[in-house]
Point group: C2
Chain length 404, copies 2
């Protein structure tokens, strides 16, 4: 039980590698993600934690030596799924650090006076079913079970079917107040996904707030036709129109400081080289610290996109897939976390996390660990071994102060 954080991560470094994109592709319920969950469960069991997977597919592993009833628990953890071609740390670092923190508490002879649990949430990235933090949204009721069960992955498989194949029972999926009632505080450690800690010259930060964000599916419709026989004047090409939409997104975002607006998926239908597409589906991700600005940006994008595509004889529709307001983490918990980590700076994050969803129902906090590339959702995401260990020590310090 004396593996370092980096040592724990090295155990899963061969799982879910993406030979095409580089990095890792570990979509929820894939063989790779299931293997990681099994690994996490086994690591918890080895540490004497009492591991169970609940109806939503969340792994909870309890350390409760005093046999307290399961209320007011301190829970720490993160996720194991990844974006396509993601890095090694986004998610797994928080799980490995939770395991390492348990070891450190044991080495310090800490006996928790409150129940402590390691948790792993499914589909944090939303990279398979389109809604980020799906597991925590189901748990808290932020997403109704009926809506989640009907979601489809790019192959057309429903979440209900995929969950069933992963051994879950669709009728047990959904809001779980009993599970939430057990949590007194949730602390998630995560690799930083920007350059904040590089600039601050610090290895670990405490989260101040999580910037609100939303996802919209944009459908641009034109007229499918033959690429060789259709003269330019006769075209209503949705790829040309959707390219204009991408540039509208960038232009509107640039006019509103601090906005991050991204098109990362862009799918012409049918998608043949010698075919003028009939439709393009593209996805928009917008984030801003002020929720009203996010709404205004999306409204402007919708309006200007409609103007832009009209010139090509196309139409455009926006459909909101998810939306999360800016989250200010629980002030009292944040102060206790900061108190346990003298000198650790406060940092806002533009990324979404399960901690941000849980924050709507239970006191939640986050720690960020320095990423020397500042790059994330990419194979270039990185954490130095020493910083990973510093993160686990910081997490252990925080947990000790909360359970002591």
């Amino acid at each position: 039980m004396s593996d370092t954080t980096a040592g724990l991560l090295s155990q899963i470094a061969g799982t879910g590698r993406d030979e095409v994109r580089g990095g890792f592709s570990r979509p929820v319920f894939s063989a790779a993600e299931r293997e990681l969950l099994e690994w996490a469960r086994e690591q918890c069991t080895r540490r004497g934690l009492d591991a169970e997977v609940d109806g939503n597919g969340v792994l909870w592993a309890w350390w409760n030596p005093a046999g307290h009833s399961l209320v007011d628990a301190v829970v720490t953890g993160s996720h194991l799924d990844s974006v396509p071609g993601g890095g090694a740390f986004d998610g797994p670092l928080g799980v490995a650090s939770a395991l390492r923190a348990v070891d450190l508490l044991r080495e310090r002879d800490v006996v928790p006076a409150r129940p402590l649990a390691v948790a792993v949430f499914p589909e944090e990235e939303g990279s398979r079913f389109g809604i980020a933090c799906l597991g925590s949204r189901l748990l808290t009721g932020a997403l109704p079970a009926e809506r989640a069960l009907a979601l489809r992955d790019p192959d057309g498989t429903t979440f209900a079917d995929a969950a069933r194949r992963a051994g879950l029972s669709p009728d047990r999926i959904g809001r779980d107040d009993a599970a939430l009632a057990r949590i007194g505080a949730f602390v998630e450690l995560h690799v930083e996904q920007g350059r904040g800690l590089i600039d601050l010259g610090a290895p670990v930060a405490v989260a101040s707030s999580m910037i609100g964000h939303g996802r919209w599916r944009i459908t641009v419709r034109g007229q499918g036709n033959h690429a060789g026989t259709t003269l330019l004047a006769d075209r209503r090409d949705p790829v040309v129109a959707a390219a204009q939409v991408v540039l509208v997104v960038r232009a509107v975002a640039a006019e509103h400081p601090d906005t991050r607006a991204t098109v990362g998926r862009f799918q012409p239908v049918p998608g043949g080289t010698n075919v003028i597409a009939s439709r393009v589906d593209l996805w928009l991700d917008v984030r801003h610290p002020v929720d009203a600005v996010t709404a205004q940006v999306v409204e402007e994008i919708a309006r200007r996109a409609a103007d832009a595509v009209a010139g090509e004889g196309c139409t455009v529709e926006l459909h909101e897939e998810s939306s999360s307001p800016t989250v200010a983490f629980d002030a009292a918990l944040r102060d206790r976390v900061s108190g346990a980590l003298p000198g650790a700076p406060l940092l806002a994050t533009g990324a979404g996390h399960d901690a941000g969803i849980l924050a709507e129902r239970v006191p939640s906090a986050m720690l960020f660990v320095r990423n020397p590339t500042g790059i994330s959702h990419s194979p270039e995401e990185h954490v130095e071994d020493d910083d990973a260990e510093r993160g686990s020590v910081a997490l252990a310090d925080v947990l000790q102060s909360l359970v002591g």
Copy 2:
């Protein structure tokens, strides 16, 4: 043996339907395409034709009642594969009309004085392995076998492996001069893929020329990163850059009259909603009656695209995947075909066809049948039953004049 052309097509109307895109998806070597080939072989056998599939996967079905040696044959046919979400006629109409024409010749008590064959070519669309007219290019040697065998489909399967699974032997794939030497004339009937026959008010046309075309894979490289944490100023987003490339393609094409330039495939990598892509692969299809103009258009696109993406800190590369010069069909054969069809207009086509590839080695000709929507490579492609029958009668007239 008295099915109409429409009746023959109705036999395969349930095969390879694409419930997502609409229309049909019948990529080469898929279950659907194999089922169609089996259907065609069985239809030929029923008609007493001697059917064989050669090393390149081309079906040849011989009608040679006089037992002539197989030289100077008249061959007619087309293809059965489709683009993703394609129509019911592009390819199958030529095969069904060939079968129907054989029936009509029998009804007319024609006994061919030259061998006559029905032929079906694989991967005409290039929708699975990226190179159009793959079967005819292999047969003529226009594409070296080594290059074809190494082609990969979007799932990473090589043409060699896919061909092997379809029962072909990779070492028999490639240039086949013996097969070509049998052909005295090749006549392909095809649905028109534009509005020419609508405007002319005629059901059937004879091809004058086939406009040259090429395909280029364009790779735009940027920097993958997190959509929430990366400020606009720090981005090198290849989706934004590739959108500019799409607009450059349109702008350059518009400056050169008669140019058709299309981007129908556009794939951000990794392609996650909350991920700034690291790369976009997009495909460019360019066609112009004058080959020098095609070359000039592509050169201008490359130059202006490089300027456009530099502003986003991205790079762009063009890689030619295929290129076919403008083909003027054999004048003597064209005149014989026109002679058999008094009143049928001459029409150039912007689409590529196996007949255009074969034309480099053997006298080739084409007939086009009216498409009342003018739309092709789309479920909206259409041929009226009466026009389909008129096409088969025209094909029978042509074949009769050639074999009589």
